[in-house]
Amino acid sequence: MSILEVKNINKTFGKTEVLKGIDFTIQKGEVLVILGSSGSGKTTLLRSLNFLETPEQGQIYLNDSLLADFADSAKMSDEQIREKRLHFGLVFQSFHLFPQYSVLENLTLAMKIHRDAKRKNKDILAQIDAEAMMLLDRVGLAEKRDAYPFQLSGGQQQRVAIARALALKPDILCFDEPTSALDPELTGEVLKVIRELKDSETTMIIVTHEMHFARHVADKILFMADGVVEEEGTAEQIFESPQSEKLKNFLSKIYD
């Protein structure tokens, strides 16, 4: 049984077809890496899964039951979309932490709203704080709980963003080029956190340009070009025996 099945996603911006019928599946605990040159539609695909873009067509099945049929998207209410969205988490390229909140508050803000924790509910609040602290500990930033985002390095900010996405316990965690905005010496700490998440069987979809990392973390790789899945396979298949010309081209450009 697949945790996620995506069928025939189509998305156009104006006259440009960005996604032309994307299909793929992931099993629970798998890591799917999406590769492709810029403009191939990777980010749009990820944003569609998180309902930040509305494709014209396509279905998303979660645990074999239909989560969304975009052909009927006009019928989805804001509330329904919010509910569906919570199955996914998204870590952005440029973090998007909330600057006015401390690290801990960045994690707990949505938790408190969703669990309707008012100031007087001391037990629930303490419980939420404890859960958030465990997540901060997991990304190695427990001692930064009271710091503000501007006081952190890019790598630390991205680790907080990962913890924030995990706080709502999504079924599938998506990463949109999580290290592209970082200085090279800071990418390691973020990739390490993602690797640890893989070890704890977190289902993830990762758009990245870090080839070495992709190779080691991916259970499955999609190579996208011009809005279609050009090639799909294990890391070994993709890197050792690429079939399509576009993929060969892409890899040769990167390894030259």
Partner: protein, 214 residues
């Protein structure tokens, strides 16, 4: 005419300015936010109406608006304004809401799209995103232009004398009419002190919000 008598009379006048200032702020600040929301909505008729409103108000003198608000209800509908103070207040609230709305709009549009999206993927509603994430950042950004506008409002309250509100300058002019000129200059002290206090208040709030960047 003793110094005490003049001060007493000017202070009574200045209380009118203070009243107009405070009530205008209390009403124009929220109303401006509403107008800003109108100018940014995707619903075209409302957006068009809000922007039209801002254009008209910002393109005509406040003095003219005071006359219009005082006389138009009586001339057009036969229901004259009951009190001059109400008319003045109405004109000021409308005028300042228009200016505030543009400051809010600038502040809101300056917040990166990513802040909204981060809230969306956390499953928050539009209202929750605005009030819990965006609004505080907007306040920090608009504080400098707001403080400008608020100081201008203090001084603008003197315009209310054109519809015969006995505010500070009018009180001083009464003395001038009797040949006593110095009270006219003395009014400057009131404005200086009041605006000085506001300037301190604004820099205090700015410092308070200095704990974060962005």
């Amino acid at each position: 005419m003793s110094f005490m008598q003049v001060t007493e009379s000017l202070t009574a006048g200045f209380l009118e300015n203070c009243k107009l200032f405070t009530l205008t702020l209390l009403m124009a600040l929220p109303l401006g936010l509403l107008v800003a929301a109108g100018s940014m909505t995707r619903f075209r008729p409302i957006r068009w109406l809000s922007r039209m409103f801002v254009w008209v108000i910002r393109s005509t003198p406040l003095m003219l608006q005071l006359f219009v608000v005082l006389y138009a209800p009586g001339l057009l509908f036969g229901t004259p304004m009951k009190s001059r103070m109400t008319a003045a207040l109405l004109a000021f609230v409308i005028n300042y809401a228009a200016y505030f709305s543009e400051i809010y709009r600038g502040g809101i549009e300056g917040i990166p799209q990513g802040q909204y999206e981060a809230g969306q993927v956390l499953g928050l509603t539009r209202m929750q995103i605005f009030w819990k994430i965006i609004f505080m950042q907007v306040i920090k950004r608009i504080l400098p232009p707001m403080s400008n506008e608020v100081l201008t409002l203090v001084k603008d309250t003197s315009l209310a004398r054109v519809i015969a509100i006995s505010e500070l300058l009018m009180s001083a002019e009464r003395f001038a009419g009797k040949g006593l000129i110095w009270p006219l200059f003395f009014t400057g002290i009131y404005f200086l002190l009041f605006c000085g206090g506001l300037t301190l208040l604004f820099s205090y709030i700015e410092k308070k919000l200095d704990y974060y960047k962005g």
